[in-house]
Amino acid sequence: MNGLGFVWREALAGLRRNVTMSVAMVLTTAISLGLLGAGLLAVRTIDRTQDLYYSQLAVQVALDEPTSAGDANCSSPTCTGLREQLQGDPLVSAVSYESRDQAYQRFLRIYAGQSILQLVRPQSLPATLRVTPKDPTRGDALVAEYTGKPGVRNVVDQRALVQDLFTFLASVRNAAFGLASIQALAALLLISNTIQVSAFTRRTEVGIMRLVGATRWYTQVPFLIEAVITGVVGAVLATGGLVLGKLFFIDRLLSGRLISNAIPAVGMSDVLLFVAPLLVVVGAAIATATGYVTLRLYVRN
């Protein structure tokens, strides 16, 4: 295209002419996109954590004392009846039986070397039917259905136990998105204002351009390119910030003793291959849209 060089030079000149404003615009955009990126990483981590847990979580149907006692393979009529009923249930994908002895062995393994072992006898542990629901989020329906049946002591949906963790991650995500949208508004206003200032500074040039018959490509595209450069540079800075945040904050936090293995690590590929391209696209798109609307509303062509 003939005027590509012209348009590009004008856009760069515009950014240079008003350096302080350009820097403010880029930084605000970067922070906004960085927060958006953090929110996206949180979403991804939540999904992964849910996958990790849901594949292992089950609804535990604990059997009462008479049914639990001395039944090594669910041969009592009560237990068999319950198992068959569960296997025929449309909500259920698999059922397995864990006898009181097996439960005790697992308990010994998990809490090896801890003092709680001295308090626990096999008799205090129930035999259990471990039910894998077809849809992990529908565990509550199973709880409601099987609680109080003959031979059942209680029904526990393990998913409910880890709900707090998901609630925490979700609130991290919401906070990130909330801050991101406030920052995005600030970035939008700054971009819009900068374009107006830029257009005002160049009003003589633009006036002459219009007079000699320059098309919109020449009169308006330089301003749009200015905005797009801001969006893209902001996205690159935001990605850099996320990489640093991952290396020096998230990695350390997730490898800490408290939650190691409870939450899967955030990979570098998540930042660079998933979030970064999205930020560039979102940054450029928002900047272009803002620029276009500003030119339409405030700057005569």
Binding site: N2, G3, F6, T204, E205, G207, I208, M209, R210, L211, V212, G213, A214, T215, R216, Y218, T219, N301
Partner: protein, 229 residues
């Protein structure tokens, strides 16, 4: 070349129309003075021809364009065929003389090659060959207006519109500019010039169109400024 048919222009903030039922024709190659006191509608007429404004009623034609009905995206094409000069020159202070002329070619998408040939041609035409690298601040008023004329002619317009081109110049320099405009006109470019300058109009003896309070007051083929004031 130019035709106004019963053109009325009423600005929203004004009670009296800036132009009131004005009809006129300008043929190819004519030189027309547009005279009248401030507020008589001269500038409005030029703005209508450039489609900076649309008429409230009536039709404006430039060559084959029905200017008032022209789609927005075609307005640049119209303006590329109209050259404009003003009292205040409107040069870009941060560009040299040559760059100011090149600017008009550059922003209308002309090739590097065209720019390299046309700019020296235009400089020669207006008599500024040696001054291509000067900055506008280093030029006299007459020289600055010559640059503006060179820029206006760079895209080979059908019509040159001049709004008080000698308004900021002393009489001697004004005469030089008029000689230049006369030469350009004789080379085939239609010229429409709005002016207050009685001396110039009387000296040139060209067609005079007088506007008064937005109405066409007089249209003389070889007129003078008039004795009315």
């Amino acid at each position: 070349m130019l035709r106004l048919e019963n053109v009325t222009k009423l600005y929203p903030t004004s009670v009296r129309p800036a132009l009131d039922d004005v009809s006129m024709d300008v043929d190819r190659g004519e030189f027309v003075f547009l005279i009248g006191p401030s507020g008589s509608g001269k500038s409005t007429l030029l703005r209508l021809l450039l489609r900076e404004e649309a008429p409230s009623s009536g039709n404006v034609f430039v060559a084959n364009w029905n200017v008032a009905r022209l789609a927005n995206r075609k307005v640049p094409k119209l303006r590329q065929r109209m050259g404009c000069v003003f009292q205040d020159f409107r040069l870009l202070g941060n560009r040299t003389v040559a760059e100011n002329i090149a600017f008009a070619l550059e922003v209308t998408g002309k090739s590097e090659h065209t720019i390299r040939t046309v700019v020296p041609e235009m400089l020669e035409l207006v008599g500024l060959d040696g001054k291509s690298e000067r900055m506008p601040a280093e030029l006299s008023g007459g020289e600055a207006q010559r640059v503006a004329i060179a820029r206006a002619l760079a895209n080979r317009p059908l019509v040159l519109l001049a709004d008080e081109p000698t308004g900021n110049l002393d009489p001697e320099t004004s005469d030089d500019i008029m000689l230049l405009l006369d030469r350009i006109n004789r080379a085939g470019t239609t010229v429409v010039m709005a002016t207050h300058d009685r001396q110039i109009v009387d000296a040139m003896r060209r067609r005079v169109v007088e506007l008064h309070l937005g109405k066409l007051a007089r249209d003389d083929a070889r007129g003078v400024y008039g004795a009315s004031r």
